[in-house]
């Protein structure tokens, strides 16, 4: 009897749809959407004039400038380092390769506060690196370089992990053809390989940049947090909260949220481009 009745039902839909979708929506609405709506409502309550006043204040503008500059430096570092790592991990075989590959995930696994603590100590005057750099007249801790360093560390995996699969998928016969035609290794890389991985590389850089803009935990340790010099936007929002200036905190948080969403869209577009690129290459 059951066997006779079931196939009709099974062809349509598996059981548990209402339960699973209901649970998913409830969780998303309660945990993610309502809190974000609270921030947006607060922004609406502030009003455009006051909002502009807050985010265009000297201290806020300085904080945004410092955050964006440091994130740009960090992204440039990871653009190069991530590309190098992806290339070496995909193209060469050497002892310790799997360990090196696993190490790329350390910055994601390690809590940001721990990373911040360790980098700060490492680069301060009595640390392993700080003592050497100090002798060379270079100060990292409590400067924008320290902020960029913390951002770069916490966003290491983005470029590597986006470029790696594309590089693995690359059709090597194109490179063989280029070599047959007499291209030098560097020419093969810049003319054949790089154009193919460009969309993925840019997508990785975009997510690394977005992550750097929002980074907080690692930076508060190393930055020194001086207004107008080493105070990042996320920290300024945090300070406003501690002063019970909720409008100030909400306005700065909304600007950061806006950056994050724009970069999310950009990275998604780049990733779609990358996916089409890969399809076309096959």
């Amino acid at each position: 009897m059951i066997a006779a009745a079931a196939p009709v039902r099974a062809k349509r839909v598996l059981p548990g749809f209402t339960l699973s979708l209901g649970t998913t929506l409830l969780y998303l609405v309660l945990i993610v959407l309502i809190p974000i709506a609270a921030l947006i409502l607060k922004g609406a309550e502030i009003g455009p004039e006051r909002f502009w006043q807050i985010v265009s204040s000297d201290r806020a503008v300085a904080a945004f400038r410092i955050t964006i500059t440091a994130a740009a430096i960090a992204t440039a570092v990871n653009a190069a380092y991530g590309l190098l790592m992806a290339w070496v991990l995909v193209r060469y075989d050497f002892p310790g390769k799997r360990l090196l590959d696993a190490l790329m995930d350390v910055p994601f696994a390690l809590p940001t506060a721990v990373a911040g603590l360790s980098l700060t100590a490492l680069f301060s005057a009595n640390g392993w690196f700080g003592s050497a750099l100090e002798a060379a007249g270079l100060q990292v801790v409590y400067t924008i370089w320290g902020i960029a360093l913390a951002m770069a560390f916490t966003s290491v995996p983005f470029v590597v992990r986006t470029v790696q699969p594309v590089l693995e998928d690359l059709d090597v016969s194109l490179e063989q053809a280029a070599e047959t035609l007499g291209a030098r290794p560097w020419q093969i890389f810049s003319r054949v390989v790089f154009p193919a991985i460009l969309p993925a590389w840019l997508a990785g850089c975009t997510t690394a940049f977005a992550r750097s803009l929002g980074e907080f935990g690692a930076i508060v340790f190393i930055a020194g947090n001086l207004p107008f010099q080493t105070e990042i936007a996320a920290l300024l929002a945090f300070i406003r909260l501690e002063e019970y200036d909720y409008n100030g905190a909400a306005a700065i948080a909304l600007v950061l949220l806006g950056f994050a969403l724009v970069l999310l869209v950009a990275s998604n577009l780049l990733q779609n481009w990358a996916a089409r690129h890969r399809e076309a290459a096959r």
């Binding site: 059951i2 066997a3 079931a6 196939p7 598996l14 059981p15 548990g16 749809f17 699973s20 979708l21 649970t23 969780y27 998303l28 945990i31 993610v32 959407l33 974000i36 609270a38 921030l39 790592m85 290339w87 193209r91 060469y92 390769k97 799997r98 590959d101 696993a102 190490l103 995930d105 350390v106 696994a109 390690l110 809590p111 721990v114 603590l117 360790s118 980098l119 100590a121 490492l122 560390f153 290491v156 090597v172 490179e175 063989q176 290794p185 977005a210 803009l213 929002g214 980074e215 907080f216 935990g217 340790f221 996320a234 929002a237 945090f238 909720y246 905190a249 948080a253 950061l256 994050a260």
Partner: protein, 283 residues
């Protein structure tokens, strides 16, 4: 992850790669990659333990067994124990709904699940404060009901739930999608109930991805800093999670204590990485 596996059959290894492994160029690049990683990734990792043990085992043990540190470890474990199972349940529900059914708005739902990834945890914390704080939207109502969400365990748990929301779903969903619904439909045809289908057919198929997502979720939940620092209020011995405790010790200029507390978090991170690597090899 060895190159021979990566190259599809039918392609020979490109000649210049074969050369490259022995040429100066390849050696230079490998050396550069290893060197930079040692300086940039390994050194900070190693330094945590070097500093934590810099005054010997006894001082390390004293730092860990300090009541405030023990309380922070307990609180952080408690948060993880609450958050991870909820996240696993959410991840399974989301994956089951999206991967095994067709309905309008699936794409939007997937994007919504991913949102917490692109939002800085500190913004998440601010969102929660604006909702549940004293001046927040629900503030007056919570006060009338005498419910304390902010600067207490519920706030910490909620923010951690926000930050970790996509972790399990992101691992399980693509796998469930790739596996399709044939096996489940066959089970239903044979008269299995919904629960039986899930437990006997779907769960064995996704168990490694589920475990993988849960491990990543645990690592993230344990290490959460920005969001928690907004909603915890840093009350010593009460709402201080382990990462916040690290900051507190650092600000107290107790560097060795801070590194000792940090070393426990580092061990958790390393264990998570080892499990992750092992599970990846299995897949």
């Amino acid at each position: 992850m060895n190159p021979p596996d990566l190259i599809a059959p039918g392609y020979a290894v490109p000649p210049h790669h074969g050369h490259a492994a022995r040429t100066g160029g390849a050696r230079l690049l490998i050396g550069l990659a290893v060197g930079l990683t040692l300086l940039f990734v390994v050194a900070p990792l190693l330094y945590i333990f070097v500093r934590a043990f810099s005054q010997g085992w006894q001082v390390y043990a004293d730092n860990i067994l300090n009541p405030a540190t023990l309380h922070a470890i307990w609180l952080t474990s408690l948060v993880a124990v609450i958050v991870v199972p909820l996240n696993v349940a959410f991840g399974i529900a989301a994956a089951w709904a999206v991967a095994k059914h067709r309905f309008p708005g699936r794409g939007i739902l997937v994007t919504m699940i991913e949102i917490p990834f692109s939002i800085s945890p500190i913004i998440a914390g601010i969102c929660y404060l604006l909702l549940y704080g004293r001046q927040g939207l629900l503030g007056p109502w919570l006060q009338a009901a005498d419910l304390q969400v902010m600067f207490a365990l519920p706030g910490i748990v909620l923010v951690t739930m926000f930050v970790t929301a996509p972790f399990v779903a992101r691992e399980v969903l693509p796998l469930m999608q790739a596996q399709g619904t044939d096996q489940e439909q066959a089970a239903v045809t044979l008269g299995a109930s919904g629960w039986q289908v899930f437990r006997r057919v779907t769960l064995p198929n996704i168990r490694w991805a589920l475990l993988y997502g849960a491990v990543l979720c645990t690592a993230r939940a344990v290490g959460e800093f920005g969001g928690v620092s907004v909603v915890s209020g840093n009350i010593r011995g009460q709402t201080n999670t382990l990462p916040l405790h690290v900051e507190l010790l650092f600000n107290d200029l107790n560097a060795v204590g801070a590194f000792a507390a940090a070393s426990t978090l580092t061990v958790i991170a390393l264990v998570a990485l080892v499990i992750k690597t092992a599970l990846e090899a299995r897949r």
